[in-house]
Subunit: 502 residues, 2 copies
Amino acid sequence: MTHDHKGNTLKLKWLGIDTYRENIIFMRSDCDICISEGFTALTRLLISHKGKTIVATLDVVHSDLIAHGQAALSEIAFKRLDAFEGDEITVTHLDPIVSLSDVRAKIYGKKLDDSAFYRIISDINKGYYSDIELSAFISACAGDNLDLDEITGLTKAMVNTGSKLNWNTDKVLDKHCIGGLPGNRTTPIVVSIIAAAGLTIPKTSSRAITSPAGTADTMETITNVNLTIDKLKEVVQKEGGCIAWGGIVNLSPSDDILISVEKALDIDSEGQMIASVLSKKAAAGSTHVVIDMPVGKTAKVRTEKDALKLQYYFTAVGKSLGLNIEVLITDGSQPVGRGIGPSLEAMDIIAVLKNEKDAPKDLKEKAEIIAGAMFELCEASKQGEGVLLAKQILESGKAWDKFHNICLAQGGFMTPVHAQYKMDILASNSGVVKEIDNRRLAKVAKLAGAPKTPSSGIYFCAPIGTKVSENQVLYTVYSEAEGELNYALEYINSSNPIIIIE
Amino acid sequence: MTHDHKGNTLKLKWLGIDTYRENIIFMRSDCDICISEGFTALTRLLISHKGKTIVATLDVVHSDLIAHGQAALSEIAFKRLDAFEGDEITVTHLDPIVSLSDVRAKIYGKKLDDSAFYRIISDINKGYYSDIELSAFISACAGDNLDLDEITGLTKAMVNTGSKLNWNTDKVLDKHCIGGLPGNRTTPIVVSIIAAAGLTIPKTSSRAITSPAGTADTMETITNVNLTIDKLKEVVQKEGGCIAWGGIVNLSPSDDILISVEKALDIDSEGQMIASVLSKKAAAGSTHVVIDMPVGKTAKVRTEKDALKLQYYFTAVGKSLGLNIEVLITDGSQPVGRGIGPSLEAMDIIAVLKNEKDAPKDLKEKAEIIAGAMFELCEASKQGEGVLLAKQILESGKAWDKFHNICLAQGGFMTPVHAQYKMDILASNSGVVKEIDNRRLAKVAKLAGAPKTPSSGIYFCAPIGTKVSENQVLYTVYSEAEGELNYALEYINSSNPIIIIE
């Protein structure tokens, strides 16, 4: 007696229901398949269509929304199956997911080996995990729950389950910022300087996890960042560098899935962060990587001690993957640049690259320091001369030319714009800016709509040390929806000042 | 400038979409409210209707499934709001959930105090947590991650956020089994014995977490277990005892929410288990509680060491709640009784209570031991004479009369029935039954449909020590769907034998 999957076909109906990332199948409660197979709401099912297979959660429909012999899918499930209304799908039981026992072992505090991580990440890649299961895995790995071996195992699993790029050179550069600092959008400037120097830098960036913008979000307001692997190779071969969204090139596909759940939980797990960063670097074919790690009371890394531990982990895990890593511990006490949110940050970047008079100096200097460290790490300059080389390239206008050409090669150049609604936030007293709560400032930008609506965010004009008079503008909040502007304002007024003036 | 929630009303349309436990609101992507408030798919929203409020996740609809000015809800959301098609609802932003920072603190390994647990459990009760957030909380508390103080804090929070019952007596008895052993449905027998002795035992039970049946599932095949608090009091006042589902009387409302996610993850967390059990006992007004803890290689508690630790935790947490707890460590090497699954277990119970000749002896003896310990714990009998008293009451027929009367008081008496499809599983060789894998046996019953379809499950007839010949029936699998029967069979054939014969 075998389990006959053949008969379970249904015709698709389009309902237009967008569940974001979640695969849902809608089936009638009195559907023959539901009854004969014993399917009920929340059952996880295997759906096949012309050689493609996904796992979806069943929502049972008690109305005549779908007819007998029909089923509907959420928008993302239609897309993943490459299916359209009228197509036939096959619906079967999902075999038990073996790697979930590895997740349970981790929840119970056991140490996982390389093969366990490989099983888990492979299944996540295939879309076999529900949001509940992803959340359990992330929570079990958060905090201090992964040791060095486990972080290495997780990183290797992420590399080995994705695509890998190869470049015909022994110096492939890359950079990464640990984040947590609003603004701080050095990447596009650094890539332009490095590529202008004739070096190779196939940069992929992520979208925001818990911040108001990721580099991919910011660059998307200027050019296309959704490059296929072929397109990415073409851009890098032509210009030496690119600034692409990492998710779409599928270098570490599980990472974007994990990040979307981390975002919903608003947590950043140390081990997952290291694995996320280094797996993408290894998969991109990088050999020399500089990591910018801002440290400050309200940055992502809060203490020198945490920074040193992360520095050690990054270097050690990098080594076992064959990467040369340098971690720069930088100032994390306040935003870098003036814009916070995709479009506003893009405006800063363009101003720096164009050597405009009022371009944010702090952003320019930080980009030069990072590019300089990269020159030295790969021995493209002597020790101590990296920053000077970066400065020369930037100020000569070569970096701007390179940036503009990279954008054109990626698909075109757009000028970022301001949002429709804005509101100035004023100083309640005069004095000197003493301290800034980066987290709460970032939260304001998020409540205003960043990065979802790219033009929303904050224009910040009160760095530490600024002398301000009463009612002077500290920052301006931008939003495309009045509701969100009000919501951000409610938050600003709900507790202690975000910018402390003494 | 304030945040005006007034304007956001929409008229409800019924779509009949059953998402099980999850509140979903369906809104048009071009809906004015979505645009002005900046709502996108997966946004969590506050939905109000005539004084009731729930939190729902937004699914955006791109089709004409719902008209302008309309919204739809999942079935459970309609029910929780007490709303119908055509009713008007108000939709607003959800303020940030403060207790989620407590959950994050726990994920990061921090110790939580009583007030943190109170905040978390209150919000879970209100339905503010998404499945992702519930999963993170459960995972963070699983394993050994809660210490004694934290388990006590969690338990108190569960008690203080639910209803509490009061009985006019200083002896209110209760029992609980840690589970993991298929069959083992002693509760209905024990309650009948205790109540027949004139003592008070307002027993509430849960539904299955990861097993093929909970006591509530089993009793539901005989009588109504969905008692309101008023009805429960009426039954206990009349009969001295009841056997009700704990979820519906709202004694520890957060517990059923947590259990549904634990079930999806297939994990049982130690701290959450203790909190779950004791919060229900305290809320039910119990004073004397006997806990049956089967220990065995494939039971929930696997070693003597684990059992002693749990025994200590139960007793200590119980003490701080003012409960007298006795933990009986029992044999967990094999199923108790013959039925596994709601209806099949119910048949065993009735046979024991009716003193039928072929009633399972092991189930009868175990019920007597537990009832005996309860008599001694509350000093209703002398030490060493409890079991004898229990035996006398059971064999006199008084326990059966009491059981029948309790069922009638709860709403009627039904006779449980067998499922439509069945299949005998035969011994592949002759010999003596040496060992039984309880977990995999339970899994077979679950794959066959238990407890979802109550009549499905296993009739087990090969306890340890049984002499069997080749092709003798070891157990029979029952199911209401051929698909499930096949699925169970596939699992049985997929690996090592579940019953070892030597």
